[in-house]
């Protein structure tokens, strides 16, 4: 079994076998992070360029730590400090970087499809770290690793994703992944934050959060971006909390063994109550830890080409 793709642009094109390979590899990578000496030489001499055209602390640090644990050389390229602020185009930036012989790009961009745009201009491996509202594959993979660790598998698992469905790349990647792995997915949010045609993804859609919670094994809350309120998509944060905030009382409707997830950063008292975020069902910080393992796995699988086992004893 191996990865059949050069790049990781989205979950949509991955097979269930590839997803399982990534999760299995991530599981083994976790051990490296718990050693006193947290580094292995697997990607020694490889150059990974982190191209972050949109702010991201968590994802970028997580990738950077993963790169360093595998001994890759890293170059951090952020939009504000780069030639992009001088008007250079994305493609020109890549054409210039290309001559510095990078082995991989990890890219975050506000435009959906940004990865596909630069793909023809590079020989290096491309890892999507979030492109607009399109996909955020490593987030879905770290979510999946967390779910698998806590629930043992995906088949028949009831998963509710709730909040700002319309603006979330996390939702799209998670829906693709969970459906491929056989989970039963429901999406929930206020009508103004639910895009049309969601049912074509093969998921249930509802605006009734209380009912949607009934019997769920996994409840994944999404971050409400506070600027959405200014656009009039919901009247007030307090009202949002009243109808769509995950409180302890509401959570009782879910399965007794439910796990609560959130891609972070959380807004306490908006989409999630503090008692829930810090409570016994919360696996939010496990997600953060798994993020490093999953990103190590991706970089290893896409960059760590070697001969097969038998030629090497």
């Amino acid at each position: 079994m191996a990865m059949h793709h050069k790049d990781l642009v989205g979950i949509e094109t991955l097979s269930p076998e590839e997803i399982t390979l990534i999760l299995d590899t991530a599981e083994k990578m976790a051990e490296v992070s718990h050693r006193p000496l947290k580094k292995v030489p697997a990607l020694r001499g490889k150059l990974v360029v982190n191209l972050f055209f949109e702010n991201s602390t968590r994802t970028r640090s997580s990738f950077e730590i993963a790169e360093k644990r595998l001994s890759a050389d890293t170059l951090n390229f952020s939009a504000s400090a780069s030639s992009l602020s001088k008007g250079e185009s994305l493609v020109d930036t890549v054409l210039n970087l290309e001559r510095m012989q990078p082995d991989a790009y990890v890219m975050r961009h506000s435009s959906p499809g940004a990865c596909q745009l630069i793909r023809p201009f590079t020989k290096a491996v491309l890892v999507n770290a979030g492109d607009g509202a399109h996909e955020h594959p490593t987030q879905a993979l770290l979510d999946a690793l967390t779910i698998r660790q806590k629930k043992g598998g995906f088949r028949g698992l009831k998963v509710l994703i709730a909040g700002d469905i319309a603006h979330s790349r996390v939702v799209r990647s998670n829906v693709f992944l969970l459906k491929k792995m056989g989970a039963d997915v429901t999406l929930c949010g206020p009508a103004t934050l639910l895009p049309p045609h969601l049912d074509s993804l093969g998921v249930k859609v509802t605006t009734d959060f209380d009912r949607a919670l009934d019997g769920q094994d996994v409840v994944m809350m999404l971050r409400i971006q506070l600027e959405r309120q200014k656009k009039g998509l919901f009247p007030s944060l307090l009202e949002y909390y009243k109808y769509y905030g995950l409180t302890e009382e509401r959570l009782r409707r879910a399965d007794r063994e439910v796990i609560v997830m959130h891609p972070g950063p959380i807004n306490r008292g908006v989409e999630i109550a503090s008692e829930v975020a810090d409570g016994p069902y919360s696996v939010i910080l496990d997600q953060v830890e798994n993020g490093v393992s999953v990103r190590m796995a991706i970089l290893y699988l896409l960059l760590g080409g070697g001969d097969d086992e038998t030629s090497h004893s």
Partner: protein, 188 residues
């Protein structure tokens, strides 16, 4: 291609029994000795050796497993990343005698990688190497301390150890091309 069975299950077990006695004899009393198997087949072999040593000496040696794939020296060549099996060493190596266990010693590159992997986990007092088969053709200055069977092979032969734990049977095979006649030789 010709495939020849060198050992059956009894042969493998006999060889392991001798290895276990040799280890116990050389490392008198087996104080502060740990066994670490190299994935994949070194791991079940290390477990079997530990069981044999316990039977003979009454000492239960800790057994760990080592995945060397993150320490290989052939990463730049094209191909797919080898499947990780994971490293599990749940005990300290500080001041210990580590006996690395592998199935077949060939070029020595796996052992080179295993030594790198091992020193990242701690600082053992000494490291020794036990292999079931030494088939020669070393590419690095590496030798085993304990050898079950020295097998004379050609470089292009394939030595395959199969174990119940990983492959469903215990057997050692030697596979190689028939002796070449001038007509079979392909132009380079």
């Amino acid at each position: 291609m010709k495939r020849k069975r060198i050992f059956d299950g009894a042969g493998i077990q006999r060889s392991l029994g001798r290895l276990a006695l040799e280890i116990a004899e050389r490392l008198q009393g087996c104080q502060d000795v740990v066994l670490i198997g190299i994935h994949r087949r070194g791991v079940p072999l290390a477990r079997r050796l530990a069981a044999l040593i316990q039977k003979a000496e009454g000492v239960a040696l800790p057994v760990g497993s080592l995945d060397i794939n993150l320490y290989r020296d052939d990463f730049s060549s094209a191909g797919t990343a080898p499947v990780l099996r994971g490293t599990q060493v749940d005990f300290s190596l500080e001041g210990k005698t580590v006996v690395l266990v592998d199935d077949v010693l060939f070029t020595g590159r796996t052992v080179r990688a295993a030594l790198d992997a091992l020193v990242d986990l701690g600082r053992p007092a000494r490291v020794q190497l036990a292999v079931l088969v030494d088939r020669g053709h070393r590419e690095l200055p590496i030798q085993a301390d304990y050898v079950g069977l020295s097998l004379s092979t050609r470089r292009e032969d394939h030595v395959e150890l199969r174990l119940k734990e990983t492959d469903g049977e215990d057997a050692l095979y030697l596979e190689g091309p028939e002796p070449k006649t001038p007509r079979d030789r392909k132009p380079r």
